[in-house]
């Protein structure tokens, strides 16, 4: 009876260790791909053409841009439309110009034709329907 309990405890410990190892590995992989970000990053995202600086990939840290790009763009949009403030970094045009890159066939397709379009990959995953591109261009100038 005692040996059986020992066996069970031993098996339990092994399982626990294996689980921790898997968790540790996956969190490591996440950190490697998203730069210390705890947020989910879908695989197969097109890469932006260039880093903003040596340490920063986008105009804001990735945590900020992932959570708040909607608010940032909306704020910039009102400033631009109503007050003519241009050249700030949070414009939709800026996102498109930097992030929308040619696909494997070398074509730059609009969001309506390309399911792998930079904007549509995450929004499809998160089931968010955006209407930006009923009016705005979804390909770089």
């Amino acid at each position: 009876m005692a040996t059986r309990t020992l066996w069970l405890v031993g098996l339990g410990l092994l399982g626990l260790l294996a689980g921790m190892a898997v968790l540790f590995n996956s969190s490591n992989a996440d950190e490697a791909s998203t730069g210390n970000s705890p947020y989910f990053s879908p695989a197969g995202l097109p890469n932006a053409k260039a880093m903003v600086s040596a340490t920063q990939a986008c105009v804001e840290p990735l945590e900020v841009i992932r959570r708040q790009h909607g608010q940032l763009m909306q704020h910039q949009r009102d400033d631009t439309v109503h007050q003519g403030i241009r050249g700030s970094q949070h414009s939709l045009k800026g996102c498109i110009n930097c992030h929308v890159t040619p696909n494997a066939q070398g074509q730059t397709l609009s969001i309506h034709d390309d399911p792998q379009h930079f904007c549509s990959v995450c929004h499809q995953f998160a089931a968010v329907k955006i209407d930006c591109f009923q009016c705005h261009a979804s390909t770089p100038e």
Partner: protein, 244 residues
Amino acid sequence: MSETHADATPRRQFLKYAAGVLSVTVAPSVLLHTFATAESSEPVSAQRRWGLLIDTSKCANCSACVTACQQENGLSSEVNDTVAQWIRKVELQQPDTGKVTSLPMLCQHCQQPPCVDVCPTGASFQRADGIVLVDKHICIGCRYCMMACPYKARSFIHEPLTEQKAHAPRGKGTVESCTLCVHRVDAGELPACVSACGESGNKAMLFGDLNDANSPIAQRLKTEASTALRADLRLQPNVRYQGI
């Protein structure tokens, strides 16, 4: 000897005259450029009021402005009942004398815009520098502004659009009109119609700052006669015409 002397004098006069004309045509765009690029990240201010002066005596059978507008803003060039027109050529005939005048008709960018007065959502608005625009993020497509505009300057988009220009977002269910090429003006350039009229048209359009007393447009308005269309409505348009 006397022959060459007699030839030289008018040529010298011509050169002087040409230099004068050149400086008048080149200077405004250069000035405009230095002004606006320095302040593009600043909010526009009421210190400037953009205006347009159209000399109908120079305007003739030419539609360079219309074509340039369509190309610049990604408008369709086909003609049908519902196509969006930001600028169109109109012919006026004097009923008494039969005199025909051809002129470009566009949003008059009124200082007292009726489209802004009637807009229920605040989508139709006037920028501090006098340009009247539609914020299509707020527009619900009710078309009150189209009813209110005495110049029929606005168009409604009935069908889904594709291939819009990055600087001119346009879409179904919203009202739109001439933006005075606000993206170009903010970058210190001339509106597309004005630069096309100067390059391939009849040089009938003059664009500039009405609040700057030294600008060519303010100088000309001060010294020459000009008309506001439907002046009886007292909308004080920033677009004015000569020769009608």
